[in-house]
Every structure is written in C-alpha cells, then in structure tokens.
C-alpha cells in the first residue's frame, strides 16, 4: 500500500490538484475535518470518477447522496452532496454541486456507482431533484403517486392532505362527530 497517500496533508494536496482540473473549489474544512470540494454540476460525476480511479486516493465507496434546500436564499436552491470513502487511507471526501429550482436536474452517478440508485431515488422523493441517467427514478419512501416532496423547505410539516392517497385507493375513514372531543389529550381533528 506504499503508493497510497496516507497523511492528511498528502490527501488534501491530491484532492486540490484534481479539483483544479474539474473547475472545482476546495471549501474551508468544517468541524468534522472532511475535505469538501464544490464542483460545477456537469463535472460532478467526472470528479467522483477521478477520485475513485486515482491510485493515490481511491475513494471507491460512494457512501451517501443527499441534498440541501436553500429555499428563499439568493443562490441556487439545491445542493446535492456526495460522500465518498477510501478504504486504503481510511478517509472521507465530500463533494457538493448545486442546481436551481427551475432546472433541478443533476447527472446520475448510477453508471459509475451502481449503489447510487437507491440514494438518488431518495433525494428525488424528498427534494424533487431529478437525476439524469438514473434508470429507475421512482419514489422510494412516499407512495408512488404522492404529489409533493416533503423535505423541501416550503413543504408544511403537517403535510398537504396527508390522507389523500389513502382515500384515493378506496381507504375508509372513521366518521367523527364535528368538534369531537380529543381522545386522551390527543390533538384536535386536523389531519
């Protein structure tokens, strides 16, 4: 394993060198000490592949794909975040890219990292970000015909007609007297 970078500074240098070739910027380190690189949307997968194939770094495991919603801020609305792990140097890497609300599409990592399939489905389900190239981009947590994306900041926590899908498929609701007493301190009759 002598050709693998092991010291933190050697890893950081190698990451910075790659970031430069993919028009990325290395972000200041956060408290968790994970090196973070922000790359343009169309470079994200290429950068991940380069980090995977670099014989010194070998970030071979895509741990997680998730997203952030910066609703109402003067910037692109969504950040998509990738976390990678290198077994050789036992270190982690965070890659961020962003997309706007109107054009909420990011290239899919599935052709290079098959594990991204489910992760991207979850991001699609929760944030409504589409992944171009994901062969099976269906909802994964919410019902398939659900109409909203619950982790968006403009989605109310109580939901929008949460019983709608249940009713739509013939679900029976119990009749309740108007203004019925809450049961044992339970909340009143808002769905």
């Amino acid at each position: 394993m002598s050709d693998t970078a092991t010291t933190t500074s050697a890893i950081d240098d190698a990451i910075a060198a790659h970031a430069a070739t993919f028009a990325g910027t290395v972000q200041p380190k956060t408290q968790d000490g994970i090196p973070t690189v922000r790359v343009p949307r169309d470079q994200a997968i290429g950068f991940l592949v380069a980090m995977r194939d670099d014989p010194q770094l070998r970030f071979r495991l895509l741990l997680d794909v998730t997203a952030l919603d910066y609703y109402g801020q003067a910037r692109d609305r969504f950040d998509v975040v990738y976390h990678c792990y290198s077994f050789e140097s036992r270190s982690r890497l965070r890659v961020k890219t962003s997309c706007s609300e109107r054009d909420a599409v990011v290239p899919s990592a599935v052709p290079e990292f098959p594990t991204a399939g489910f992760l991207e489905r979850e991001v699609f389900d929760m944030f409504g970000i589409r992944f171009d190239g994901n062969p099976d981009l269906r909802r994964i947590l919410m019902p398939e015909d659900y109409e909203h994306h619950p982790l968006r900041k403009d989605f109310p926590l109580e939901g929008i007609e949460p019983e709608k899908n249940y009713r739509k498929h013939g679900g029976v609701m119990m009749p309740r007297a108007p203004g019925a007493e809450p049961i044992n301190g339970a909340r009143s009759d808002t769905p």
Binding site: Y166, M174, I183
Partner: protein
C-alpha cells in the same frame, strides 16, 4: 351466569349472549400488527416473562382470518394505512382493536405528513394504551380491560362503544 352440578360434572347456564361473551373474552387471539418500536414490547408481552397466555391470548395469529383482537403496536403511516385497514376488514366478527402506545392512539410525537394521527381515524378502537412504549404490564392491563368490556358489552363489536384509556394502573 351460574355453575350448576356436583361431583360428576357441572353445567354453565345463562343467557346466550353472556355465555358467548364469557367464551370470547377468555380466548382472544391477537393479530399482532407490529409497526415499530412498540412491537418489541408486544413481543415481550407474548414471551414467557410476562406471558400473555395467562389470560388466554397467547395464540398470536399472523392471519387476520383467525384472530379476534388486533393489537396496533407502533407508528402507522399513511402509506401503511390501507394495509392496516385491509387487515382489519379481513378479520371475522366480532373483532376488537387495542391501540398500543401513543403513536397508534394519537400519532404521538409525530405531527407530520407521514403519520396517521391516531389509528381511530381508520379503524374503531376499543382500548387505548398510554406510554411510549407502554410497558408489557400496560398491554396486559389493556387486554384485561378489553375482557371486562366484552363482558359488559361496551365494545364496538357489540354496538355500544365506550372506548377506554388505560395506563399502568387499574
């Protein structure tokens, strides 16, 4: 209801509905609808330490066709709601429902888009239990309460519903 007879056997006499209630309440077969963490306490209740079989309810059936009381143990989500309702519909009459834990009773700590705020929105509940999770003792208390209600005819199945809320105490 009376026990009549002597040394070589006895007969139980009484009105038919009372006899039926007596038979039913002492062999309630649960349909364990274990949805999340509360299910662990329900399993513990069925296991040897708390031993729900002392009250005739040890035959946990995973087929709704063979069960009398549905124990909703855990957080019911709207995605799961139609399944829960369908299982309830498949149970033969008379059927009873125990809502175990605050999640099943009211949605509990989840006030959000995914969780049904109380299974009584979908199915009639006879006994609600407090606790997050309720101790096995509480579930046994709920079972005993349900037995009393079957005796008194105050369940949904007998058309005179007066739901009860039970905790640890009597």
């Amino acid at each position: 209801m009376a026990f009549e007879g002597g040394e070589d056997g006895f007969a139980v006499t009484g009105p038919l509905d009372q006899l039926l209630a007596w038979a039913r309440k002492n062999s309630l077969w649960p349909m364990p609808l274990g949805l999340s963490c509360c299910a662990i306490e329900m399993m513990s209740t069925i296991g040897p330490r708390f031993d729900i079989s002392r009250f005739g309810a040890e035959v946990a059936r995973f087929s709704p066709r063979q069960s009398d009381v549905m124990i909703v143990a855990g957080t019911l989500t709207w995605k799961m709601a139609s399944v829960a309702r369908r299982i309830y519909d498949q149970m033969p009459n008379p059927k009873y429902v125990i809502s175990m834990g605050v999640c099943a009773s009211s949605g509990g700590l989840y006030r959000n888009y995914a969780v049904v705020p109380g299974v009584d929105r979908l199915i009639p509940v006879d006994v609600y239990t407090m606790g997050c999770p309720p101790r096995p003792d509480t579930l046994l208390n709920a079972l005993l309460t349900l037995q009393k209600k079957i005796d008194k005819g105050s369940t949904h199945a007998s058309g005179n519903p007066r739901p009860a809320v039970v905790g640890l105490g009597g």
